[in-house]
């Protein structure tokens, strides 16, 4: 029996091509507070503008993963035409690099691409691992963070 690959030539050709990762967005104080509360981390740098300024920040600081606010994790699904039914999607891993602080008032621009496609056999069937890379640039053109998530498609 020949095992058919989950990865088509068309899918391979999508590696490295830009993804629809969402448009530019302004980092708002309320968004920062929501994330701080969701991780139960009430750091005054995130919540208290006067305190943040007293420590040399331009406004309240954002928690490290704030750039993923409104992230279109499903963006790879728009460009990959799977030759198999997807029965479940799992979030496999996260990898972050942080280059510069992000503050309220900053405008971030995400830009993603697919980095790698790998298939594996798992206990729930064949799995396709999709690793993408999203870079976040601020209004001054500075790269502030790079995020490399891996999503796992379970094939039916």
């Amino acid at each position: 029996m020949t095992e058919k690959s989950l990865i088509t030539e068309e899918m391979r050709a999508a590696i490295g091509k830009p993804l629809n990762s969402g448009g530019s967005f302004e980092v708002e104080k309320g968004t920062i507070r929501n994330m701080a509360e969701a991780m139960n981390y009430l750091n005054p740098l995130y919540l208290d503008e006067a305190y943040a300024r007293s420590k040399g920040h331009s406004s309240v600081l954002a928690p490290p993963m704030l750039p993923t606010y409104d992230l279109q994790l499903s963006a790879p699904l728009e460009v990959l035409k799977f030759p198999f039914p997807v029965v479940a999607i799992l979030h496999g891993s996260d990898e972050w690099e942080f280059m510069a602080d992000v503050h309220a008032g900053d405008v971030l621009t995400p830009q993603g691409k697919i980095m790698n496609l790998t298939e594996k056999d798992g206990n729930r069937g064949k799995m396709l691992f999709i690793t993408s890379e999203i870079t976040y640039t601020n209004q001054r053109g500075e790269l502030v963070a790079v995020y490399r998530p891996t999503e796992i498609m379970i094939a039916g």
């Binding site: 968004t31 929501n34 994330m35 509360e37 969701a38 991780m39 139960n40 981390y41 750091n43 740098l45 420590k55 928690p63 490290p64 993963m65 993923t68 606010y69 409104d70 992230l71 994790l73 479940a88 999607i89 799992l90 979030h91 496999g92 891993s93 996260d94 990898e95 972050w96 690099e97 942080f98 729930r124 998530p149």
Partner: protein
Amino acid sequence: MNAPVYFEDVTIGQDIPHQVKEIITTRSVVKWAAAVKDFYEIHYDKDFARLMGMPDVIVHGPNKCALLSRLVLEWIGELGKLHKLSCTHKASNFPGETLTCRGKVKDKYSREGKNYVECELWVENQEGKIAAPGLATVSLPSKN
């Protein structure tokens, strides 16, 4: 705020002298969903989660990654910097579980005027089952 941690205070092989412990509730999962606008139904619709073979709604992987960032940032304080953080999601977690984030110092070195510390981190549940092993690189101030 804790006393600042200096590069000289850190020893390779030591445990990170700090932990983050969180009891997971449906509310805490939904708060994360709202904070990052991730409305995949597996995180708030129990019927949908069961169709996907889960016993209940599941904690977002990035939420666990964020808890690991909190562990590191609470430990190093405002003088330290977080440069890299990664984690792999090995197991799903559900409301009712208690997650604890812990870590160990793997390596320390100075390069280009900065004092780096590499740490092994993980999220474990109340049974000690590791749900998300990870790595972090931070830099710390020096006493010199």
